[in-house]
Amino acid sequence: MRWLSDPLSAPFMQRAVLAIVLLAVAGGLLGTWIVLRRLAFFAHAVGSATFPGLVVAGPWGLAAPVAALGAGLGFAALLARLTRGGATSSDSATGLLLTGALALGAILASDVYQAGAGVDRLLFGTLLGLGDGDLWLAGAVAVAAVAATCALTRTWLATGFDPAGAPALGVRAQRGDWILLALLAVTVVAMLPAVGALLVSTLLVVPAATARLVTASLGALLATSVALAAAEGFGGLLLAYHLDLPPGPAIAIVGGGCFALAAIASAPRLRLRLRRGTGVTA
């Protein structure tokens, strides 16, 4: 069992495991709603959009989470502006802004601030070098995600299931949506130190998308998403430790592997669902 006890005796690994568990709670719970509401691409784009914010945080003397949040909110505002009127579709605008943010970040990092090797850390995280502030932020989003899931499950369920009918059920759909998007933004920011701007989907989308393949009820989906996020994070950390890989990408690979296994295991059900789906949409 030394393959397990050795890494866990290192303080930097203990911190990393604690961070992964806290982020898994937030990522698994919110990820469920992100996947159900088809916000996965948006969530990924919010993560990428924080990159230029992270690049300028140091030189401008800003706290990294504040700069990242500012960049993420700027992205959301631009997206709302671009899609107003319906001339540009939401996914096109998201792709456009995501590319723009990465390009802006790259130029700022290479030519303006000479961030050099730090860019890797901003894009892919540094789970093995987390500070106290990072852990506190991870804990805060975990608590917020649990509280919001307890208080808002019915609102989010009714709104996602049937947006047109939800208000007549007495559900405050719009308020629920704003809270979901705000939590998404804060959770993305909390995940940046661990997995970086490009890999937030690893904890925020992949576990829930995987759990969706193997669960039938909402409760099972929420629980499985959290458990998978934690297990994939832990597995990726061990892999990174033993093979000397960067932990963020290692977790992403473990998550991708789990998704592939779940997709294969649930293939007959998947086909059934697809067949039923084609019968009703016209």
Binding site: L36, L157, F161, G165, P167, L169, G170, L221
Partner: protein, 249 residues
């Protein structure tokens, strides 16, 4: 229950989407307890706008709406997400959301009500079935059951018979008759003139109110032409009318 005032009184109502011109105007009608009103009109004629105004989702830019309590809304089943992890019972339970504070579980009495509502629409044995695996007609019945759990005095039904199998149509008709007998007011949006003839009153809309009254005396050729414009086709040799719907893309 037998009050002199009508259960629903709409007076010179106009409603508009954000900053646009009114999508619907000049709507004046009233309904007594137990009356079912067909809301007839082409796509884009204002049926949905009227419902959204009655639900309070669109502000009335003119006129007034008077009734007691909040209405229930039965959407078309195609508007709901079929891939959501919800059972028929979960959907019926949504009818109890408005009276359940966010910090409480749904009351046992409401769970009973939801099961009873599913039984009433003939789906008592499908309570645990995933909503997306039910047939279109069964899903429509589940959405009617959800409205039963809401226990509203006024029900707004959006094309409840569109794409529904025969069994479900009969089940829904039976339930709607029961709801009328209980003194509830039903508004049933439809673009099917034959469907509109089955109800107590018909409200014809085409951006504005064209006519309102009992179907037999209201659905005249003039009114139908006003409602459907040039899209109306009158079949010779019978009183059947067919409204031809042009779908705009």
């Amino acid at each position: 229950m037998t009050t002199a005032a009508p259960a629903l009184q709409v007076t010179d109502l106009a409603a508009a989407y954000a900053e646009g011109p009114p999508a619907l105007r000049g709507v004046t009608f009233s309904a007594e307890p137990g009356q079912a009103v067909a809301v007839l009109g082409p796509n884009g004629g204002g049926k949905t706008t009227l419902f959204r105004a009655l639900l309070g989702e669109l502000p009335a830019v003119a006129g007034s709406v008077r009734f007691d309590g909040a209405p229930a809304y039965v959407p078309q089943t195609e508007r709901s997400r079929l891939d959501f992890p919800v059972s028929a019972l979960d959907v019926a339970l949504m009818g109890a959301y408005a009276r359940t504070p966010w910090y409480r579980r749904i009351a046992a009495a409401d769970r009973e009500r939801a099961r009873a509502a599913l039984a009433r629409v003939g789906l008592g044995d499908r309570a645990a079935a995933r909503f997306g695996t039910l047939s279109g007609g069964q899903r429509q019945r589940v959405l009617v059951a959800r409205a039963l759990v809401q226990d509203a005095r006024l029900l707004l039904l959006d094309e409840p018979f569109a794409g529904v199998d025969r069994t479900s149509e009969e089940a829904i008709m039976g339930i709607l008759d029961e709801l009328r007998a209980e003194g509830r007011v039903l508004l049933i949006a439809t673009h099917d003139i034959e469907q509109a003839r089955r109800w107590d009153r018909v409200l014809c809309l085409h951006g504005e109110q064209i006519a309102y009254g009992p179907p037999a005396s209201t659905l005249t050729t003039d009114v139908l032409e006003g409602t459907y414009g040039a899209e109306i086709v009158l079949l010779e040799g019978g009183e059947r009318c067919v409204a031809v719907q042009h779908h705009h893309h």
